[in-house]
Symmetry: C2
Subunit: 436 residues, 2 copies
């Protein structure tokens, strides 16, 4: 049995392999994770709710199943964290909000039920910003505790980065998976809109909400997303991928990140990638405003009754959206939705003509301070378009904060996106991890 530290270093597939070969037990792995959480969470605050007893009981059950030759699926015995907008039977769902919004579901969200059916052990609920919008979670960035981990899936990203769990679920309506993944130096993935069932999950904006995994490798996120989607997702192998670079996206990044990513792109080209510059369709100009109108309208529709009853209990970020969302007209919403679909229709052929479109995931490394979860504008277009995107860590800046690259593809090419991302990950070979 390896020592505790290397147990928590295991990624999803390595852990699952070791569990299948029975060179480790689920109980040992879960205990190691729980020990690390107990040690580090007072500082990191990734967890809103832990279920140590439940997790250990599930781990014992998985080990007994393994001993009897029964392996549930690709996550058999692997501990995972769940963003606290997603129902886990028997645990509270707080959505990062005050008591008025808390529930204690008796049923798993379908996505959680699928994880368990594939053998996963749910350790607990990870902190989210309030209702997955802008009011921050208490979570700190594992690389520098004075910096935001990003949001809204703050706890999930931080927990995976600091090796409390090999994988965790998050959600992205604007930039809530890929941005915290970038800030925390892990891989964050979302599939095409609609790939993963969203029942049992507190919505932010239905037509924009994507549920996806955090893990520490592309292959690991692919395994978890496959379980979530209810079908195996096998990255296509890539060797000389055709990568598209849109200067207008790179130019949004701060100078340090831009310089870093230019070097990464050169490194990818040197390894055999064909890199071409592309221009985004003119409909790109409308997509940010359109996405915001859609989000505000859909969030207002979900929260309307709660606004009326509990308006004073919302954080300032959400409260600021309330009057805007409630006042939007149907015509504004419909026009925004038309703009969104026009962008989607215009950009998909561009995406399909390459193996991936490259973009910075964020404007720079995680901003200092815990009062703001950072700018999501480079993730937002791909949430609004409903197309798959993935963020991979590519290095550290001079202060030791992670930097990241975003790869984007068309909805029907998820496997191709993952293959290219894995290829880029291999070339870049990011190995750093945050100190405890």
């Amino acid at each position: 049995m390896p020592p505790t530290e290397s147990l928590t270093d295991l990624g999803v597939r390595d852990a699952a392999d070791a569990l299948r070969r029975r060179t480790i037990t689920s109980v040992a792995l879960v205990e190691a994770c729980l020990a690390r959480i107990r040690e580090l969470d007072p500082k990191i605050q990734a967890w809103a709710h832990l279920d140590a007893d439940g997790a250990l009981a599930a781990a014992r059950e998985r080990d007994a199943e393994s001993a009897a030759g029964r392996v549930r699926g690709p996550l058999h015995g692997v501990p995972v964290g769940i963003k606290d907008i997603i129902d886990v039977a028997g645990m509270p769902t707080t959505a990062g909000a005050r008591a008025f919004a808390h529930t204690r579901p008796t049923r798993d969200a379908t996505v959680v039920a699928r994880l368990r059916a594939a053998g996963a052990v749910v350790v607990g609920k990870a902190h989210t910003t309030q209702f997955a919008y802008r009011d921050p979670a208490p979570t700190r960035n594992p690389w520098n505790h004075e910096h935001t981990p990003g949001g809204s899936s703050s706890g999930s990203a931080a927990a995976v980065a600091i090796r409390m769990v090999p994988a965790a679920l998050g959600s992205q309506t604007v930039g809530s998976i890929l941005r915290p993944a970038a800030y925390c130096g892990v891989v964050g993935l979302k599939g095409p809109h609609g790939l993963v069932p969203v029942d049992g999950i507190v919505p932010l904006g239905w037509s924009l909400d994507h549920i996806g995994p955090f893990a520490r490798s592309v292959a690991d996120t692919a395994v978890v997303l496959g379980v979530m989607a209810g079908r195996e997702i096998v990255p296509t192998s890539a060797s000389t991928p055709r990568l598209a670079v849109a200067r207008q996206l790179f130019d949004r990044a701060d100078a340090g990140l831009r310089q870093h990513l230019d070097a990464v792109v050169k490194q990818l080209a040197a390894a055999g990638a064909q890199v071409s510059e592309v221009a985004l369709p003119r409909e790109f100009g409308e997509i940010h405003a359109a996405g915001q109108v859609i989000l505000e309208s859909e969030a207002a529709a979900y929260h309307e009754a709660m606004f009326a009853k509990h308006g004073a209990d919302y954080g300032p970020g959400f409260a600021a959206m309330k009057p805007i969302g409630l006042k939007r007209s149907a015509v504004e919403y419909v026009v925004a939705n038309r703009a969104r679909h026009a962008f989607r229709d215009a950009v998909i052929p561009l995406l399909e003509a390459h193996d991936a479109l490259l973009s910075p995931t964020a404007l720079g490394p995680a901003p200092a301070g815990l009062g703001w979860t950072g700018d999501a504008s480079l993730c937002a277009p791909w949430s609004s378009a409903g197309v798959p995107s993935i963020s991979i860590p590519t290095g550290l800046d001079a202060t030791g904060l992670p930097l990241a690259l975003q790869l984007i593809q068309a909805p029907s090419n998820l496997e191709r996106l993952l293959g290219v991302a894995a290829w880029c990950e291999g070339v870049v070979a990011f190995r750093a991890k945050p100190g405890a």
Copy 2:
């Protein structure tokens, strides 16, 4: 060469077969159609614009191609009519509105381009209610000129019924294909939402608009819809179909139609159909109001600028919708859209569990008078759900007006729907045609 009358009696497939075998020419067929239009349209008023010269030129071209052994596709040489919200290059698009809304497109809508690529000859533009909403077209019902032909695809339905063309295109946002098909004693079909491209077509409500064909047999509508969709659509053969009857839909019909359709259902059962009673999901209760909110909002979004400039030029039906649509909130729209998707999600398993759901198409035969195009409430749920539906004529009432049955299926089962509809059509064997 058969006499003129039997030429215009030919349906799409029979005409195409005869043209392929060169026992008739496209010029003769188009001339026969034009002669019938000249004779009858002063009374019927199905046509907003005729292009006799263009149609004859196209027919000559098709005949020359046939003589050279070139057949464009399944509609080679077949005359068709196009609802006047759909762009045909070189013809005006009036959308049944006043001059402010008229255009003279230089490009065909994709759906028209596909018809022509498959060999069809466009004869002209068929009358529509104003912007495909409630303000009536001048068209009269061929079975009784004092009755409405239904709307909004009034001209298309009437023209096919009175044998001016073997097929015509219409659109349905609420009940604008199937209802006029029922009132005029022809077959009206719409596929799942999104099957047919809608570029070059004046929208009413984007997320509800379906483009589909009128013809005089199920097989003929399948051929035309296949061309429109860009893929062959072959009805699945059916022998002992499992038919679902929802009493709550039959109970909406007037006594005469209910009695007639009860007899039709008995006739189908006697011919081998397994008929079972089903209850619609409770979400059905919300769908009518939801669809109306969606339509008003989307129509207002499209017309907003024109309302401001030409508000006084709209008919009273559309004008009545204007203030409602402009005042709808985004929250109302989003809630309606959620209700629509909830109904769709709930009803699709019910549809998939049978070969077709049966419903009256309309509440009764075509109402008397030309000021109102009739009630669309039995068609509306299936437009809002975006699922395929078809209306077939089943008989005449005591006054000689057509009665009709609607069949409904899930989006992925269009071919099955068509197979069952063709089977029912064969059992019912409706043969009547309106006198000239």
